[in-house]
Structure formats: C-alpha cells, structure tokens
Symmetry: C2
Subunit: 129 residues, 2 copies
DNA sequence: CTGAACCTTCCTGTATAGGGGAAGGTCAAG
DNA sequence: CTTGACCTTCCCCTATACAGGAAGGTTCAG
C-alpha cells in the first residue's frame, strides 16, 4: 500500500510517516518501480504501537529504542517496564512541581483580593506579584 | 552600573539582560561615552519583578504586557489578577491531564506485573504497551 | 494526451528563553 | 604600551514532533 493509504489507515499524515522513517521508527519501505514507498500491513501494527507509546507519554526516541530491541530479535518487555517506571516517577515529580506552583499562584491570587490596589506604587510595578 | 554588575546583583547573566532588553522587558539603558550600557538601580527592582513573574509561571511575553501597562502610567493590577486567574485554571487543567496520564501509566505498569512476558509475540512488539 | 491526484526529496519554520562564540572596542592597572 | 577583564553587536544553536511549501516525477482515468 502507498503512503497515503497507510496514513489514512493509521489516522496520521504522510508527513509524519516519512518523519518516522527518518527517525528510524519505521524501517525503509520497499519501493514501487516508480519510486513510491510500498508498505506491508504489519507497518500498521507498528504505527499503532508507536501511538500507544505516545499515549503513555514516551518520546519518539524512547519508542525507537523499544523498536530497536524488538528488531534485534529480543523482547523489549523489561526495558519497557523500566521506561514505565521512570515515566511514573517523572510524572509524579512534575505533578508535585505543578501543585507547588499552583499553591504559590493561589496564594498570590488570594492576597490580591485582600490588598488595596490603590496602594500599589509605581516602583514596585504591581503589588499582586 | 555596568551590565556585569547588574547581572551579578540580580543573580542572572549579561546575556539574559540583553535578551530582556531585546524583548522589550527592559528599556534601553543609557550609555557611557565608551558605549557601555549604564544602568540605574531601579532596573534591579524591575528584574526582580520579572523573576517573580517567572516564579508564578508567567511567560516573558505576559510579564512584558504588565510592564508595558505600568510604563503607560496605569496600574496593571487588574490585568495581573486576570493573568493569575488564567494561569490557575491552566495549571489545574495541566495537573488533571498529568494525573490522567499517570493513571494510564500506572495501569500499564500494573498489568506488566501480571502478564507473562514470554507470551509477548513479535508482531505486537511488546505486550506491556 | 492531458489533467488531477498522488508521490518524491529538500529546505524552512514553530515556540521558549536564552547559551556559545566570533570579531572587535574600552578601560584600568602595571 | 600592553595585558586582561570587561563590554559591544551579530549570528547560529538547543529540544520536539512534525507542518508548509517548492520543484519535480508517477499513475490512472477520460
């Protein structure tokens, strides 16, 4: 199948598919005599896997690693488990950071309701911050 | 004071200060006969304000808006309050998104502990995702 | 044979907040 | 008078996951 059909089937764009090939996520497809990429249906499975990886917040580089391991004939499962663990602690850290920021922000916002705006002097620019 | 002193006093770099000027966050400083930027101490206050804005998660563009309002002789307080509100709802949305992702990830990770890795077939690449 | 729809490669741009470094000018001390 | 520390402008680079578009080739229907 040609790249346009594949893109539609995988709910993505031809741009993206060429980009994936460029980044080593898709192996170079066969070519028709005219020079068009000619895909087999297992590529669709591969793209779906990539999408699941993205849905899990993995970067394309990380997904590529997994695919490389599989392409070397090994099971990437342990590596995937490690990636999931790393992602989880990362996300927890991010959530905490955001919550800290949220607290700061809420404090400022709250203060803004209790401070007279007219007391805001020029040199401090704005009392609310 | 010269840019190096100011940078040290404000705990930042000369690169950053020139960048701020470039982006309209700092007004063009006076120059010495030799062409060096010559800052007055109120610039330090301004930089501190910028830092507080950044600590509140505002972008430089948003901080610039506040400064512009103040530089037009008006009190930016209402605008700041609006920005804080917007930031708050934004951050809440981000936190929810991250928590959703965390749930997805935790589900995958949990499943990984209950699924036999050996049942992972080549064509699905990895059962854990 | 021609036009539309598809494909090819290649180059540029996106947003953010600066960092790195080149080529050259300025200022004080020794 | 020179050396070193500072300053100037200018231009390129960073990460991420593509999108936009140019210039040209291919394929199929009518």
């Amino acid at each position: 199948m040609r790249i346009g059909e594949l893109a539609e089937a995988a709910d993505t764009t031809t741009k993206t598919l060429r980009y994936y090939e460029d980044q080593g996520l898709l192996r170079a497809a066969g070519r028709t005599p005219g020079g068009y990429r000619d895909y087999t249906t297992d590529t669709l499975t591969r793209i779906d896997f990539i999408h699941r990886g993205q849905a899990a917040g993995l970067t394309l580089a990380q997904i590529r690693q997994i695919l490389d391991i599989r392409d070397h004939g090994q099971a990437p499962c342990n590596h995937v488990r490690d990636l999931l663990d790393t992602r989880l602690t990362d996300i927890d850290r991010q959530i905490h950071q955001l919550q800290d920021l949220r607290d700061t922000l809420a404090g400022l916002r709250d203060r803004a309701d209790h401070v007279e705006p007219d007391t805001c002097s020029t040199d401090q620019i704005c009392r609310y911050l």
